[in-house]
């Protein structure tokens, strides 16, 4: 089956405003993860929801993503709630509509840029025994590169300051660090005795409720805390993801963002009067990308 991707593209570049804050261009994956094959690995003691790159913190539709930190007894998981919900609705949809040959590409909250893939939305992070495992789902037509890697839980060298502010009712103290090429500002809540935060952030004496980089490209801000227990789950299909080192996964993600057209062998095409398609010249469009991790 020829999976060559074909389209008519006359553009010399894709407008930067079409992209998530960090630039790059990749359409969202087509395949939903299979909810019928999931294992429960722990139970939450704390669940924190973070807005990712919100324009207005009280409007979900202005977020690029809503993400969850599930803190369990042994395992801590960080993942996208929007993608999880979309995949879950899509799985349900597929079950309820057995005649479907494909499922809708996105269901649930129509957040900002939901048709755009980002590794910060389509990755699940598990912390267990001091190790962080990242399972990365890759963009449209590149799912064969779905990958996983493991590293020691990253440690940020924090500098505490005595500035404070209140976030969702918790008094937070400011701390700063330099991590993988960027300077970050974090606000942690000493009243919440959990040394974690969004994404790969942690290590402060209290839950990190807000992190932003100094350039203002990326923000994570808590919008809700729950203590009711929830199961922490892991998709069985993660076992089929290919193991690579962090560097290789990082390079792939960066190159996909920078030129998804090149990576997918995108071609111009003409539809003939008989409905067939004639494949034309290859398309290569570079879109500058500014990832969260610069190294």
């Amino acid at each position: 089956m020829n999976k060559r991707i074909i389209i008519i593209v006359l553009a010399a570049c894709i407008k930067a405003s079409a992209q998530p804050k960090e630039g790059g261009h990749c359409p969202a994956p087509i395949y939903a993860r299979d909810f019928s094959k999931m294992e429960v690995v722990d139970t939450t003691r704390l669940r924190v929801r973070y807005a990712f790159c919100a324009e207005k913190i009280d409007d979900h539709l202005t977020y690029i993503d809503l993400q969850r930190l599930d803190v369990g007894r042994r395992i801590t998981k960080y993942y996208s709630q929007f993608v999880y919900q979309s995949d879950s609705l899509r799985s349900k949809y597929a079950k309820e509509h057995p005649g479907a040959q494909a499922v809708p590409s996105w269901m649930g909250v129509q957040c900002r840029e939901h048709d755009q893939w980002s590794e910060y939305e389509w990755s699940d992070y598990f912390i267990e025994n001091g190790q962080l495992t990242e399972y990365c789902q890759m963009p449209q037509w590149l799912h064969r590169y779905n990958s996983k890697y493991r590293e020691a839980v990253p440690k940020q060298e924090w500098k505490l300051t005595n500035e404070t502010q209140t976030i969702i009712g918790y008094k937070c103290q400011k701390a700063t660090c330099h991590f993988r090429g960027r300077d970050f500002i974090a606000w942690f809540a000493p009243a919440i005795p959990v040394k974690r935060g969004p994404w790969k952030f942690g290590g402060l004496p209290g839950l990190i409720l807000k992190v932003l980089d100094k350039d203002g490209l990326y923000t994570f801000e808590a919008i809700g805390i729950e203590t009711r227990p929830h199961p922490i789950t892991r998709f069985k299909e993660f076992k089929n993801y290919t193991s690579y080192g962090r560097e290789k996964v990082w390079k792939m993600q960066r190159s996909f963002h920078e030129n998804w057209f090149k990576a997918t062998d995108f071609h111009k095409a003409t539809i003939n009067p008989d409905g067939t398609t004639t494949i034309g010249e290859a398309v290569s469009i570079f879109t500058p990308y500014n990832p969260l991790e610069l190294e």
Partner: protein
């Protein structure tokens, strides 16, 4: 594991506090310890406990006392206030669940737009994009053809809405080519779209639809856009006969050039209207916008049989803009009115008028026998008058508990072709004959009429759904092809009448019904369907002026007493009942599918000329099989299919019909044609996104067997074609590859492709069977490069070799056609308002005596002002006057030279009236 962080600038003595954190039983707990000056709450240092519960804090503070807090998920926060001095502080904490206030900015609101993908138009709109079709082309997954047809992820869209209403009923090219991009807020792609509300939770479709959400400012107001333009080119006389036929050195097109359009649109909640006029004489085919890309309802197809046409200058292979001398006008009115909450009436009327003139020379070099070939040269000037009027009226009631739609369609046309020609022919070989030159006049009058009515009723009765779909239609073509050949007229001493006249009155009545069901069991999908179809063809033909070859008995299968007739009067009816079945198994990277439709196919032939009635019943089985496997960057698939086709209207007439003035054909040989075809294919592919390397190799083989062969005989330049009861087979083999590689350097992409094809088949010429072979080799390469953000180049280059020979023939028959095409195009984004594009192209062919290289160049500049858009085109820069294309067909070589529109300049201005 002692990490200490300190803040504060003053010089203070360092304090060290250490100790253990344990639970009530004295066991170490997973916790950390913080320290803050008393009364501030501001943490100045913290340390984790180790496996034994030990911690060590080092900090500097001027405070008298500090708060040391042990914290952890198991113990919460346990604080001790101690003096600010180095000391040991052991903390024993009780296990307790953390008590935190649950907070939330606001409850999550899930907006379920399950099947909708929204593209914000502003995000994809670029410099130079004017209408929504320009922006659609850039949206990932969406492809738009020149006529405006849209595909999403390779699938043709089944509905096109503006503000959720289907105003255009399939002619959505009108919307994509005319609605301003700046008036559209969002393009919604609706996947799994089920337009029938009563089926929305019952029946799933794989259909994709597009909905344009307009900006508020564009709703409820009348918008009128207009465009006018003019230009100059060298002109030539227009009417046929206004100048003598020449050696083809004149040009086509008229001076001055003009183009104009006016588009009115109104989109409100209960009423939508789109009315437009477009016209030009610049070669632009505006009628493309009237193409119906989908039918609003499954109406029957109506194809009254008419196997004749005028011989026209054709086949340049160039864009029609270069070869068309036209006077085009289209006008269309589309109106939608909501007549109730769930019902609406839609009316669409379209009219197309055109006068198209073409001029060219066609040369054919046809195989007659191993040592002789028939050479013909024909210079033609044609003028086609088109008048097409079509309309449909649709009522639709679309509610949750039921659906009713009724569509009445009407299609009428009064079209005719007039062609003046000069034909020269000669037979080469041991006994050369020069048939001399003939002046020919063809007049093809081809009116047609089609009406149909389609009703679809869907009703939910409890859990079940009743779905009735019935469509029936009638079409008729009373057509006449009249041909005058000067010498024949002189022989017959008849002037001002036609040498040949073919009348056809063809009718087609068609009705159908179908339904489909799917089942799923684990990895298996089973699909079954029932299709019922009745198709009735009534064909009456009468040919004057042709003397058929004497029935030699053997190859002409009619009864020996009859001379072959020049009349047909028959009804050919087919009744089909098909049980469709399709099985699919998918798991991991594997996908296996098997289809096996069973078709009970009944045909009746009532030939009133031969007074012969026959009926035939066949059970046709057409299995298909395919399997594919994907593993990481590799994929492979193989497939095979078999089908059998019995009879078609083209194979049942026993009286001669003039296909064109040089070809007369009869096709019935006492039995229906039977065709068996076996096809197999295999491919293997590699695609690495990491190093942007893509490769695919395809191979396929086809074998066809027919129970009859068409035999050719020649009377001068005229061919007489008869079906002969003799089996024939054909085989073809093809191998092709495609390789591409992308580089980061200047966004460069390189591509190479190539193919080899070989086919073997038979031709029956003058009772002699010639097995023959053809071979095609093609290779090509190309690339794109973007040296600067505002500059982009595209280069492509292709070569092909084509040759044919008979198994027994000498090498003199082996002539190779070599063709090559090179093209370089460039886009320059000079400023945000100004875009310049230029293209140069060379087409080469080796078989023409002169003008082997044809160079084309075009330049286009666009300038966007606040209130209007300006465009300037310079076409055919090198003033190429004619273009020759050579094609192979079997053992015959055709050379078509078309007259072209000369160098021309055209300027247009486009603005909004309202």
């Amino acid at each position: 594991m002692l990490v200490i962080l300190v803040i504060g600038g003053r010089m203070q003595a360092q304090t060290v506090i250490e100790g253990t954190v344990t639970d009530s039983l004295g066991q170490a707990v997973d916790a950390y310890v913080t320290v803050s000056p008393k009364g501030t709450g501001s943490i100045i240092g913290f340390a984790d406990t180790d496996a034994k519960g030990y911690y060590k804090l080092q900090f500097k503070s001027a405070a008298d006392s500090v708060v040391v807090t042990a914290a952890g998920m198991a113990i919460g926060n346990v604080a001790r206030v101690v003096a600010n001095k180095s000391q040991r502080v052991d903390i024993r904490a009780r296990q307790k669940a953390i008590e935190l206030k649950e907070v939330s900015v606001k409850a999550d609101k899930i907006r379920q737009h399950g099947d909708t993908l929204n593209y914000t138009v502003g995000a994809y709109q670029q410099q130079g994009d004017r209408v929504i079709g320009d922006v659609l082309k850039r949206m990932p997954g969406i492809e738009v053809s020149e006529s405006g047809a849209i595909k999403f992820n390779g699938k043709a869209i089944k509905k096109f809405y503006v503000e959720d209403m289907d105003l255009l009923q399939g002619r959505y090219g009108l919307a994509t080519n005319n609605i301003n991009a700046s008036d559209v807020a969002t393009v919604q792609v609706l996947e799994h779209h089920q337009p029938i509300k009563a089926l929305q939770n019952k029946s799933l479709t794989d259909d994709v639809a597009i909905n344009l959400k307009l900006k508020n400012a564009a709703k409820g107001t009348v918008a009128i856009n207009t465009m006018v333009g003019g230009g100059w080119q060298q002109s030539s006389p227009w009417r046929i006969g206004s100048r003598p036929l020449t050696d083809g050195q004149t040009v086509i097109g008229q001076n001055p050039l003009w183009t104009a359009e006016i588009v009115g649109m109104y989109f409100a909640k209960k009423r939508q209207n789109m009315t437009l006029y477009k016209g030009n004489n610049t070669g632009d085919d505006v009628s493309r916008e009237l193409t119906e890309h989908y039918s609003s309802i499954n109406s029957v197809g109506l194809y009254p049989f008419c196997p004749m046409n005028a011989v026209m200058p054709n086949g340049s292979g160039l864009p029609q803009k270069r070869t068309f001398d036209n006077h085009s006008h289209i006008a269309t009115m589309n109106h939608l009115e909501k007549v109730g909450e769930d019902s609406e009436i839609t009316m669409n009327i379209a009219y197309h008028h055109d006068d198209i003139r073409r001029e060219g020379t066609s040369e054919s070099d046809r195989f007659i026998s191993e040592d002789s070939r028939l050479l013909t040269s024909e210079t033609l000037i044609s003028q086609t008058h088109l008048n097409d009027l079509s309309g449909n009226l649709r009522y639709m009631w679309n509610a949750k508990d039921g659906f009713l739609a009724n569509v009445i369609k009407f299609d009428g046309s009064w079209n005719n072709d007039k062609v003046e020609g000069l034909l020269a022919s000669q037979l080469n070989g041991p006994q050369p004959i020069n048939y001399g030159s003939e002046r020919t006049h063809q007049h093809f009058d081809r009116p047609s009429l089609a009406v149909s009515n389609t009703t679809n009723l869907i009703k939910n009765i409890g859990k079940h759904t009743l779905d009735l779909h019935f469509s029936a239609g009638y079409a008729q073509r009373p057509n006449t092809l009249a041909v005058g050949v000067d010498s024949l007229n002189m022989q017959q001493e008849v002037f001002n009448t036609h040498a040949y006249q073919q009348d056809i009155d063809s009718r087609h009545i068609n009705a159908n019904f179908h339904t489909n069901y799917n089942f799923h069991f684990g990895y298996f999908t089973l699909s079954y369907g029932i299709i019922a179809n009745a198709s009735l063809h009534g064909i009456t033909t009468d040919l004057d002026g042709f003397t058929p070859p004497a029935a030699s008995g053997s190859e002409v299968g009619s009864s020996p007493s009859d001379t072959p007739s020049l009349r047909n009067d028959l009804w050919y009816n087919t009744y089909e009942l098909t049980l469709g079945q399709h099985y699919k198994w998918e798991r991991g990277g594997w996908r296996i599918s098997l289809g096996c439709p069973l078709n009970l196919y009944t045909q009746t032939l009532d030939d009133r000329v031969r007074d012969d009635k026959h009926s035939y019943v066949h059970l046709l089985v057409s299995p298909t099989f395919s399997t594919s496997y994907e593993w990481r960057d590799w994929s492979g698939n193989i497939g095979a299919s078999y089908y059998r086709n019995v009879g078609d209207p083209g194979g049942i007439y026993s009286g001669y019909i003039m296909n064109n003035y040089r070809s007369f054909q009869r096709s019935y040989v006492e039995q229906l044609s039977e065709t068996d075809r076996i096809g197999t294919s295999a491919s293997i592919g590699y695609r690495s996104a990491l190093n942007a390397t893509f490769f695919r190799l395809n191979a396929n083989y086809n074998h066809t067997r027919d129970n009859q062969i068409y035999g050719y005989s020649y009377q001068g330049a005229t061919s007489v074609v008869q079906a002969v009861d003799q089996a024939t087979t054909a085989d073809s083999y093809n191998l092709s590859f495609d390789f591409s590689k992308g580089f980061d350097w200047l966004q460069t992409t390189l591509r190479a492709f190539g193919g080899y094809g070989h086919s073997h088949s038979e031709q029956l010429i003058a009772d002699q069977l010639y097995p023959f072979n053809s071979r095609t080799i093609s290779i090509g390469a190309g690339g794109t490069i973007t040296p600067l953000p505002w500059l982009n180049f595209v280069l492509s280059s292709g070569y092909s070799w084509n040759s044919s020979y008979t198994d027994s023939g000498g090498s003199d028959l082996l002539r190779t056609v070599r063709t090559a095409t090179q093209r370089l195009s460039m886009n320059v984004y000079i400023t945000k308002q100004m875009t310049l594009s230029a293209a140069v192209e060379d087409n080469y062919t080796n078989l023409t005596a002169e003008n082997r290289h044809a160079w084309f160049g075009d330049i286009k500049a666009k300038y966007k002002l606040r209130r209007c858009d300006l465009e300037l085109q310079l076409n055919n820069l090198f003033d190429q006057r004619h273009y020759t294309r050579v094609t192979y067909s079997g053992l015959d070589i055709y050379t078509n030279t078309s007259q072209l529109r000369p160098r021309n300049i055209l300027a247009t201005v486009r603005f909004k009236l309202l």
